[in-house]
């Protein structure tokens, strides 16, 4: 169970968002949509403390704390419980696909190397890259790199995986293989929060779609409801733009 209460983030004197409340149950899949620059990615980064929130309360599993008083230990504990998939993959360039996946298990979870590599091989199998274990990121396609990025997040055994526009940097030809891997995770009821512009994915996979605009959660509902009967005028306007043929 993950809960954000009153999460606020400011850069210098500009407020990105204020008092965001959001909670999700184990196994729930949330897709966050909305115009660019409304703080979707920043919110995601706050859950992992890649950005430090300025106010609010965070609960992830058995860990709960006030973000303004977070200790280094709490931040590390939070990061172990939340895995992150980056828009630009952010693979470790000096490590092979296998090592990218096993690195966290070895360094953070203190697993013996052999055991970590065995688990990493299982994950490579699941992401369909068993034959690329020894390949370095530079020799992989964008789609393969992002699948390794997802594999690295899977290896963290986190309560929740946070996806920050995982397909936005990909050439169109690689988008499907990444989305279908995410769908596979969804069918295994991996808890996830996905920030994306892939509306079809949101419709097919999300349990709940959250629409953000100008630093606020405007509306959240199951996809059938949000896409077909959006209540708020801003949601309607946004959906008209991104879904030209939407029955709105």
């Amino acid at each position: 169970m993950i809960e954000l209460k009153g999460i606020t983030k400011r850069f210098d004197n500009q407020t990105v968002f204020e008092n965001i409340d959001l909670s999700l149950a184990r196994g729930e899949i949330i897709v966050v949509i909305g115009p660019s620059g409304t703080g979707k990615s920043t919110l995601l980064r706050c859950i992992n403390f890649l950005e430090r929130p300025d106010a609010g309360h965070l609960t992830v599993g058995d860990l709960a704390f006030d973000v303004t008083r977070a200790t280094t230990r709490e931040i590390l504990a939070l990061r172990r419980r939340t895995a992150f998939v980056f828009q630009n993959y952010a693979l470790f360039a000096n490590k092979t696909a296998l090592e990218n996946i096993s690195e966290g298990m070895i360094v953070v979870d203190d697993l013996p190397k052999a055991q970590a590599h065995a688990r990493a091989r299982e994950i490579l199998e699941r992401i369909g890259l068993a034959d690329k274990a020894d390949a370095y990121p530079a020799s992989l396609s964008g789609g393969q790199q992002q699948r390794v990025g997802i594999g690295r997040a899977m290896a963290a055994n986190a309560e929740v995986i946070l996806f920050d526009e995982p397909t936005s940097a990909l050439d169109p030809e690689w988008v499907d293989e990444v989305l279908s891997l995410m769908k596979q995770l969804a069918t295994e009821r991996q808890t996830m929060i996905v920030v994306t512009h892939e509306m079809q994915f949101a419709r097919d996979v999300a349990d709940r779609v959250v629409f953000m605009d100008e630093g606020r959660i405007v509306e959240q509902a199951p996809p059938s409801q949000l896409f077909h009967h959006p209540r708020d005028e801003r949601t309607q306007r946004f959906l008209r733009k991104v879904l030209p043929q939407a029955p709105v």
């Binding site: 952010a90 470790f92 530079a138």
Partner: protein, 224 residues
């Protein structure tokens, strides 16, 4: 003008080679110390540690801004007048000290640039899976910074080997000092200095070969 005295030159080679170990030793010790000092300076600069950062900048500014020969004279002839316990400092130690401080100032800046040059998103990725700052540095940043910095650092090492020849101005009989003495007694200056030039040249070429192999190895992960 006289013909080259080849026999003299050939005879000189083994004599001079006897002094090569001292030259290499000064360079190797100087390089090792300079690397450690440069890494510390670079981390102070990257992390912008208060006070220390200002101190590091002053240090770098001074040792880059003054000639190595002046620094060597300052350590060997000057400092003992100021600090009595340094009276016993010998030319070799003073040379190693000078090389360390002088070259660490240059190397600190290239190591700093290399650390900053490692893709920032990898830092975030390492933090996002729960690595500490130390683990992040050791496992992700420094290995990649090493690759970026290696060509420049090897150049400094080559420079340092040649700079050890300045030790002869502090009365150290190393490769250059020995050549000077041999030349002074035989009066065959051209032959003697040609031999020593070729010895330095070969040593540097051997290192360049090593550098190329090292770089190929370090670049393995980045081949498409």
């Amino acid at each position: 003008m006289h013909a080259l005295d080849v026999d003299y030159m050939l005879g000189l080679v083994p004599i001079l080679l006897g002094y090569l170990p001292l030259t290499l030793e000064m360079a190797a010790v100087g390089m090792a110390c300079a690397l450690v000092l440069a890494c510390l300076l670079a981390i102070v600069r990257v992390r912008r540690l208060r006070f220390l950062n200002a101190l590091a900048m002053l240090f770098i500014s001074f040792f880059r801004g003054t000639p190595l020969l002046v620094q060597l004279f300052l350590f060997y002839y000057g400092l003992p007048q100021l600090l009595a316990f340094l009276v016993a400092i010998n030319g070799i130690t003073a040379t190693i000290m000078g090389l360390t401080l002088h070259f660490s100032a240059y190397m600190a800046e290239s190591i700093r640039a290399a650390i900053v040059g490692v893709d920032r998103s990898q830092t975030e990725a390492a933090l996002s899976i729960g690595m500490t700052q130390g683990q992040l540095m050791r496992r992700i940043v420094l290995p990649q910074a090493t690759r970026i910095a290696t060509p420049t650092l090897m150049n400094y090492f080559i420079d340092m080997i040649k700079a050890t020849s300045l030790a002869f101005t502090l009365g150290v009989t190393e490769l250059m000092g020995a050549t000077q003495k041999e030349a002074a007694s035989s009066f065959l200056y051209f032959e003697a200095f040609l031999v020593v030039a070729i010895i330095y040249w070969i040593v540097v070429e051997a290192l360049s070969w090593l550098q190329r192999r090292l770089e190929t190895r370090l670049n393995r992960a980045y081949q498409r």
